[in-house]
């Protein structure tokens, strides 16, 4: 039982290390900025998730104390990762892509990067 617990914890630690390494390696391997956005925001979050699962299992199976702090960190990271990716993509678009490069939106409002937000209906 003890050996099995150590095996599972070591498995999660190795998996998370590989994912974290791949996430940071993709940051220097991929060529375009928008491609580089793909690697860290996915793989590193999975890597941290693996570390947190390993930590929960370690304190539950080896130390014998149950803790839910790790789930809070996982939840926070999973909530903020898409927001951060969206902000970084907007920063890149604002600096490198002109309004003539993007297709028309097909709606009554333009792109949020280049046009003012639509005014509130209650003011009309």
């Amino acid at each position: 039982m003890d050996f099995l617990a150590e095996l599972v914890i070591a498995f999660f630690l190795v998996v998370s290390g590989v994912f974290g390494f791949v996430g940071s390696f993709g940051l220097i391997k991929l060529r375009e900025t928008m491609q580089r956005l793909h690697a860290p925001t996915k793989a590193t979050t999975l890597g941290v998730g693996g570390v947190l699962i390993a930590s929960m299992l370690y304190f539950l199976l080896i130390e014998g104390s149950l803790s839910f702090h790790e789930l809070l960190i996982t939840l926070f990271l999973f909530l903020t990762a898409p927001i951060v990716a969206h902000f970084i993509a907007k920063t890149f678009i604002q600096a490198n892509i002109r309004p003539s490069d993007v297709p028309p939106t097909g709606g009554e409002h333009g792109w949020s990067m280049y046009n003012d937000p639509p005014s509130d209906r209650r003011e009309e």
């Binding site: 630690l13 290390g17 940071s24 925001t41 947190l52 930590s55 803790s67 960190i73």
Partner: protein, 89 residues
């Protein structure tokens, strides 16, 4: 066995931090540098939790939670500053 796996994970995240530093110095665009800084924050969170497992204490969760929150706020502040020239309008 856990010690060996911990050493492996420490090495992986340390190498990842070096890669992020390389991208911060070389990054052709501001977005690259902000992305590399955000990845550094996430790698440091993982390193803190690994350090907690290594010493068998639960002290480092609060520290990693604080690092996660400060990292998120600082990334958003960087992006807001580049986008609008101001952080809180």
């Amino acid at each position: 066995m856990i010690e060996a796996a911990l050493t492996f994970a420490f090495g992986c995240y340390g190498l990842g931090l070096l890669f992020n530093l390389w991208r911060i110095t070389r990054g052709p665009d501001v977005a690259d540098r902000i992305l590399a800084l955000d990845t550094m924050v996430i790698n440091v969170i993982a390193l803190l939790i690994l350090y907690g497992i290594w010493h068998g204490t639960a002290v480092y969760y609060e520290a990693s939670m604080l690092v996660a929150m400060v990292g998120f706020v600082s990334t958003v502040a960087y992006c807001r500053f580049v986008l609008r020239g101001d952080i809180i309008e």
